[in-house]
Each structure stands twice: as C-alpha cells, then as structure tokens.
C-alpha cells in the first residue's frame, strides 16, 4: 500500500531544478531567455518525448515525468513544455500514420505544434467543420503565435474531430492576462481542410481529447504542487523571521493556521496527483481521480496565494516581494483546472473502489 511518485521522479526533478533555476521570474524578473532557446533546450534534454502512450517504450510515465513539472512550478518557469507535450500526447493517442508523424516532429523539435481543445469554458461556442471548411474561434491557446501547426478540436455535426491546421491559415490574437502568459485567441475563417488533415473522428477523437486532456491536467497540477512547495517555504521562512510584539509572527496561531492551510492544500494536491498519475500510467481512464485532483488543485491555486498574502501582509502587496509572482501564475492554474462538471463526475463515480459504497435505493432507510 503506497502512494508515491514514479521511479525516475527524483532523478528528473534534480535535472529540472538546475534547468529551471536560471529561467525563473523568481530569479530574473525580466525573463531574458528567448522562447526559441527554451525550445532548443527541451529538445536537447529529450523532454519533448518525456511521457508517451501507455505501453509504448518511449517516455517515463506520468508519475515520473511529473518531476520535471513539479520543478517547473517551483520555479514558476514559463516553459512551453506543457503546451508541446499536450499536443504530442494528443497525437500519440490517435491511431494514424499522419498523427504518429506529427508526434515525432514535436518530439524531435522539428515543428512547434499546439493543441486547441474543444473547450467552452472561455465562453466561445465550439469550432465547426462543415463541407471541408473550419469555422470559429477558440480562446486561451498557449504559444499559438509561435506555432507552425495547430491540432484543433471541432464539431462535425455533433461528432468531435481532431483537425490539423497550418498556423499560417488562422488569425492569432494575443490575450493580455494577469499572469502575463502567452495566451492567444485564434480565429478560423472558413479555413480549408483537406480530408487527410482530419486526423480523428467521433469516439476515437473524443477519447484522444479526453485522455490527453486528463494527462495534461495531472502535469498542470504537478506545477501547482511545485509552486505551492516554494510558496509554503517562503511563507514559513517569513513567519519565522518577521518579528512583531517581541517575537516571530509564526508563534501566533492565526499565522500558524495560515501556514498550515497552505501545507494541507499543497500536500493534498500532491496526493491526488500521485494517485491520478498512477492510474493513468496503468492505462486506466482516471475520470474520477482526475476530477478529484482538478477540484483540489484549482482550490489550492487560490487558497495558497490567499494565505501567503495574509501572512506577508503589507510586504506581500509590494512588487519587491515575490508573493505576487505566485498570485499571477496561480490565477491561470485555478481556472485551467476548474471544470464545472467535475463535481457531478465525482458524485456519479462514487462506488466501492472510491471507499464510498453507496447502497442501492431499495436498501436505504429514509
């Protein structure tokens, strides 16, 4: 009975720590590193092939690959790795030579490819594929301005599809945001789609989107966990060093509760992430595990910065303090991990395997 990260987690984390140490707004506020250099480095490190399809020889598995993402979060590193890994993961989950080729090109660093999932949470209706033309708009696509190719989620009638689109064929518009992330709105204005560019349809497409999305969310939660560890450390250190009323503020229970709030939420995020990674690595679909994880990680992203601001008080509001850097990063995570349907999923999935055995209606004495 164990709940651990993967075998290679530590080794990967160690390398990642040194890679991201230099590319962190916590160290360099101006962010002098160029995105292309970051990409080159990811290729050299082989991290674009870090976690592959279940059963395939490539990749370390999510539970180990998480080591990189935890460290990325700890450094608040603005790496394009999550976006590229997400697209590759999607391509790997589509059973076609064209998709396999795309996955390989991402892994080798030959092409910069990002995924544009079917996601209505930003308030846009899904894109539509009709008579060989793609029409519609999608929001919050990371790194779209750099991309050569987009893997776009759309509806053809009521069936989901995965469509390969040349980035040059779509309009890309920056969406300035609190976290200063490279998020873009993309618009497809009756973009012509060749039959061979529809990579998957129907059930196969839905499954590829769902599984790659869940896997991406585990890696996102791993970043929240890493950032949370760093923020917890900074907050506990501050509470030990800042003196008021003749001693460290950390001796006040009001402050201790705030620090332990961060510790509890951050640790729960890690526990749920380890479990979700384990199930996904074993080939399970992890619908329940990922729903529980996302719900927790989204809450953690908000609660940890709230508590850190409370402890740091006036100083935390000043830009000279690092706290606001976490606040900026966490806002995106909070929403990216929030799926309004997760709570429904959790309740629906309750059963013996979750430890909550729900008696059949006829057995309940009301």
């Amino acid at each position: 009975m164990e709940l651990t990260w993967g075998e290679d987690f530590e080794a990967l984390a160690q390398v990642a720590r040194s890679v991201f140490a230099k590319d962190s707004p916590l160290v360099d506020r101006e962010g002098a590193v160029d995105e292309r250099d970051r990409h080159r480095q990811l290729v050299e490190l082989g991290w674009l092939q870090l976690h592959g399809a279940p059963g395939s020889s490539d990749g370390a598995g999510l539970a180990s690959a998480a080591g990189v993402f935890v460290e990325m979060g700890r450094a608040l590193a603005p790496s394009p790795l999550p976006a590229l890994a997400r697209a590759r993961d999607l391509a790997l989950r589509i059973d076609s030579p064209a998709a396999a080729d795309l996955a390989e090109r991402i892994g080798d660093g030959e092409e910069w490819i990002v995924a544009v999932p079917l996601d209505e949470r930003w308030g846009e209706a899904p894109m539509r594929l009709e008579s060989g033309r793609l029409e519609g708009r999608a929001m919050a696509v990371p790194h779209a301005a750099r991309a050569d190719v987009l893997l776009v989620g759309a509806l053809e009638g009521d069936r989901p599809v995965v469509v390969r689109v040349d980035a040059g064929d779509v309009e890309v518009e920056l969406m300035p945001n609190l976290g200063e992330r490279p998020l873009f709105a993309i618009r497809c204005d009756r973009v012509e789609v060749r039959p061979e560019d529809v990579l998957a349809r129907g059930e196969a497409a839905a499954r590829a989107w769902a599984v790659s999305g869940r896997r991406a969310d585990v890696m996102l939660a791993a970043q929240v966990y890493g950032a949370g560890l760093r923020l917890l450390d900074a907050t506990v250190t501050f509470a030990g060093q800042r003196h008021q009323f003749g001693g460290p503020i950390g001796r006040f229970q009001a402050v201790q509760y705030l620090c332990t709030d961060i510790a509890i939420d951050v640790h729960l995020t890690s526990a749920y992430a380890r479990e979700a990674a384990r199930v996904l690595d074993a080939g399970g679909d992890a619908e329940l595990e990922v729903a529980l994880l996302r719900r927790q990680a989204s809450r953690t992203a908000q609660s940890m910065v709230h508590a850190a601001h409370e402890v740091h008080a006036g100083l935390g509001f000043m830009l000279e303090s690092d706290v606001h850097l976490f606040t900026k990063a966490a806002k995106y995570w909070q929403f990216e991990l929030h799926h309004p349907t997760d709570e429904h999923t959790i309740v629906t999935c309750l059963g013996a395997e979750t430890g909550v055995e729900v008696p059949r209606e006829s057995e309940v004495a009301l």
């Binding site: 949470r121 919050a140 709230h306 935390g316 509001f317």
Partner: protein, 386 residues
C-alpha cells in the same frame, strides 16, 4: 458645540439624491478610479480638482463643527455621502487628512490648531500623508522607534516610516514619534512639512498598480507648534481616530456596485445563472455586502446615540478586512476564466476591471490586518487574555 440635527429617513434619501446628482454631473464614468492605486500624475491632478469641488460644497468635514470649517451635520449624513462616493469610485483624495489627521485634531488638538489646520483640510488646501508604520513596527505600532527630541523651540525628528501612501503628492506627513518609552504615554503626533530638509521618499510599486514610499526622516526640524495636542497622548489620539469615529469606510458600497454589474453580466449570458454554483456564489457576495451595510448602520447609529458598541474592537472591522480579498475571489469565480484578462484585452469582461480589483484586493492589510483585527475583537470585545 451644538449637537447636529438628527436626520429622518426622508432627509437622508433627499441628501443621497443630492450627492448622486452631483456625481452624475461632475464625474465622467471613465474618470472614476481608486485613488489608492491609480495615482499617475494626470489622474492625481484630476482627483485633486474633483476633491476640491466636493470641498467647495462643504462635504469634507461634513460632521465637524462649523467653527473649524466643518458642516455641523450628522454622522448619518456623512455615511450616506461616503457610500455614494464609494459607489461611484469617486476620485477623492486626502483621506488621511480627512479622517486620521482631523480625528486626531478633534480629539486632542489645541484650539489654535483646530482653527488653523482643520479648515485647510476642509478646503483641500493641505494634503496629508500617514507616517505610522515603520519597517519593524507594523501590527505592533506601539513599538515604533522614530524619535522626536525637543531642542529649544523646535522638535528634531529622526526615523524611518514604511508604506507611506501618496507621499510624493502630499504636503505634510502625520508622524507618530517616540517622545518617551512605552506605548501609552510614549508616543506623540507631529505634522511635518514634506518639503523640510532631511525628508526623503523612496517610492516602491505595489501589486495594485500604485505606489507606497519608504520615508526617511533625518534630523528633521519642526517648530514647537508641529506637536499636535499634548506630548505623550499620541496613542490615544490614533486609537480614537481609528476606532471611535462613528464612521465606517464603506467599501461595501463599491462592492455593491460591482455586484450589480456582475449580476447584469450573468443575466446577459444565456444559461450563466443556471450554471453549477453560480447562484450560491452570487448570494454569498450579496450577503457580504448586506452584512457590512447593516453593521455600518449599527456603528454609525451607536456613535450618534453615544451607545457603547456590542463588541469593542468591532466585528464590522474584522469583516471588512476579511471580505475584501474573498469578495474579489468569489467574484472572479462567477465571471470565470476571462476575469484574468487585463483592461484592453479583446475578450476582457467588464472592461478588464475585475483583473485590477483582484490584485487590489490584497491591499486589505492597509490600516491593520484581519488577524490583528480579530485579536483586538477577542481581547477588547470578548475579554479574552492577551
């Protein structure tokens, strides 16, 4: 001093309308802003001009006695005025002069000081900054170390103040300085001209988009009259200005307006109100506003009637501090992911203002942290041991 006439409900609503009419006529919507954060030179100049218009109507110091430049009106009318100003995000500046300095002068200033300094605040002729906090004295204000030493006809003040808001734009600094050991009896209040030799300001930017300064006082000489009230009474003056004023900063009025915008937005998007959790969140926000409004009415009423509050230290103050960030967090949850888009972003909602409100909500520690407000409530209000 004659007691102000207590207004009835009809008078108050006519007064509210008068303020609203003025704001509608004088405040273009794009000029409304939060003076605490958005203090670029052009905005500041506009805010000063706007505040002077309010001053010309006698609205600053509405409750002060007429002989000191005030309006002799009731605390209830003042609360209505403040509610309307907050609801409109009116760019009123000089709140330190208006509340802390005036509260101190009324509590302990000499007759001469009251006649000299209060009318200048009421006419918006002197802008005050607040020099209470120090690098080592935040919540524990009583441990402040800035010293004032008497030399002949002058006081010589040396020390460092932290987080001075509006420093570079102000004329004078309200300085709490040590004139003897101890909290009670050891602290005195001075008014220091910010252009005096020995005063230096080091501005630093905050997360909300504004500036606070570190203020260095290096053997700054001020005349004997710069001491406000009596030597060693500073702590009492500060506490009276902060806790016993019968006025409540109506952040809830500004929250009420934001909530109205949010509900309108939700109604305009089909299905939004029915989405999971949305009504529960909206109700939570509404309850936050409502609770604060009720408690404000209670505090102002108690103040006017000379009643002792139910709990010294004020539940209202605790809630105001705790709700400020929570309000912004729940607000964003209702708006969804687009709440993180900044002003000017193509798909930003409500002009991108929620993104700024969220950042600014972490300034809730100005004037005392929620934890310390709870500590005061627990010890003073509930009698728990310190």
């Amino acid at each position: 001093m004659t007691q102000p006439k207590q207004p009835d409900a009809e008078m108050l609503s006519a007064w509210r309308q008068e303020v609203r009419d003025f704001l509608e006529a004088e405040l273009p919507p794009d000029r409304a802003f939060n003076t605490e954060f958005d203090d670029g030179p052009e905005q500041w100049a506009y805010a000063v001009e706007f505040s002077r218009k309010c001053a010309a109507r006698g609205w600053i110091g509405l409750t002060w006695p007429v002989e000191y430049g005030g309006g002799g009106r009731s605390a209830a009318e003042n609360q209505v005025l403040l509610e309307e100003l907050y609801a409109a995000d009116a760019p009123m500046v000089n709140s330190v002069g208006w509340f802390l300095a005036a509260g101190t002068l009324l509590a302990g200033g000499s007759e001469e000081q009251k006649r000299e300094l209060l009318p200048r605040i009421a006419r918006m002729e002197t802008i005050w900054a607040e020099g209470l906090t120090e690098p080592e004295a935040g919540s524990d204000l009583g441990s402040l170390r800035t010293r004032a030493v008497r030399e002949g006809d002058e006081w010589v003040i040396t020390g460092q103040k932290a987080y001075t808001s509006w420093g570079p734009m102000s004329d004078v600094l309200y300085v709490a300085a040590r004139t003897a050991e101890g909290t009670r009896g050891g602290i005195s209040i001075f008014v220091v001209d910010l252009s005096s030799p020995g005063v230096t300001l080091h501005p630093m930017r905050n997360f909300g988009g504004g500036v606070q300064s570190s203020t260095y006082l290096d053997a700054v000489r001020v005349p004997a009259e710069a001491l406000i009230g009596e030597v060693g009474r500073g702590w009492d003056y500060i506490m009276r200005a902060f806790y016993a004023s019968g006025t409540v900063e109506p952040i809830y009025a500004s929250q009420a307006r934001r909530l109205a915008e949010l509900v309108s937005y939700c109604r305009s998007v089909p299905g939004r109100l029915e989405a999971p959790g949305i009504e529960a969140d909206l109700a939570e926000l509404a309850a936050m506003v409502h609770a604060q409004r009720l408690l404000a009415r209670e505090v102002v009423g108690d103040g006017m009637a000379g009643r002792r509050p139910t709990y010294d230290g004020g539940i209202q103050q605790v809630l105001a501090k705790e709700y400020e960030p929570l309000f912004a967090q729940i607000y964003d949850r209702v708006l969804g992911p687009r709440s993180q888009l900044t002003a000017g972003a193509p798909d930003a909602l409500l002009g991108g203002r929620p993104e700024a409100w969220y950042r600014q909500s972490f300034a809730n520690h100005a004037g005392g942290t929620p934890q310390v407000k709870r500590m005061v409530l627990a010890t003073r209000g509930l009698g728990l041991p310190r």
